[in-house]
Symmetry: none
Subunit: 139 residues, 2 copies
């Protein structure tokens, strides 16, 4: 049902599970396993990730900026409920788990009839550090 159990799959899955809360792109997985001394083929990573997505074990995100897709181990339903903040200056991605923000989805659905898809939505702007940097530069 789930296919063969191989060295490569064990390694990829283990890294994903140990990275809960982060998003990993294929390149990061490749690099990590290479540095670890257990390199895995590029197509193996892509193919296995796609398979995990089909099985619902992993979630696939498109964070825009032409960066391609990234993946995250599905830890439960609350995965649907958080927002992403992306700093357009330094590129860092902030993963926000916050009750207040979680109300937004409900509000938008009830008052505007719109169902937000959190896997596709990213709030863009400036992180604290970059905002401070910009303010300084302006003074």
């Amino acid at each position: 049902m789930e296919g063969y159990r191989t060295r490569q799959r064990e390694l990829i899955l283990e890294y994903l599970q140990n990275s809960q809360g982060h998003h990993l792109c294929p390149e990061e997985i490749l690099e990590y396993l290479k540095d670890k001394g257990s390199p895995v083929g590029r197509s193996t990573v892509y193919r296995f990730l796609e398979r995990l997505v089909e099985q619902g074990k992993v979630r696939k995100y498109y964070l825009g900026e032409g960066q391609g897709a990234c993946y995250q181990y599905a830890q439960g339903q609350d995965c649907q409920e958080h927002f992403h903040l992306k700093c357009v200056e330094c590129g860092s991605l902030i993963h926000v788990q916050c009750d207040y923000l979680n109300q937004i989805s409900r509000h938008v659905l009830e008052h505007h009839g719109f169902t937000i898809d959190h896997t596709k939505t990213v709030l863009y702007g400036l992180c604290a550090q970059c905002a401070a940097g910009k303010k300084e530069a302006a003074d």
Copy 2:
């Protein structure tokens, strides 16, 4: 301030303005102008679109699924102060002026130190009509 006025830029801008309510990908613009008998270079389209985005005249979207970016004329509205909802199904763009949503920016700044840029931020999901359509299809 806004650069030179050229045949190519006039054509691209005109097509964007006549396509309000839709999103266009670079390929569509290239093809349209080619069919029209006024072909424009690929890099010209990419470079000018990027410039329009910087000027806030056009919005850039990443609708995921590895399709690349697409663009939409900003309709001349002041979009600094409200949120945008983009239906990933039908492509319609909804401008939302809502006190409740406006609090979000303040909350995110105060509690997460993050300054949201409304010209770049879009909430993706399903509009009421498309959500209804999907529900029907599932039954």
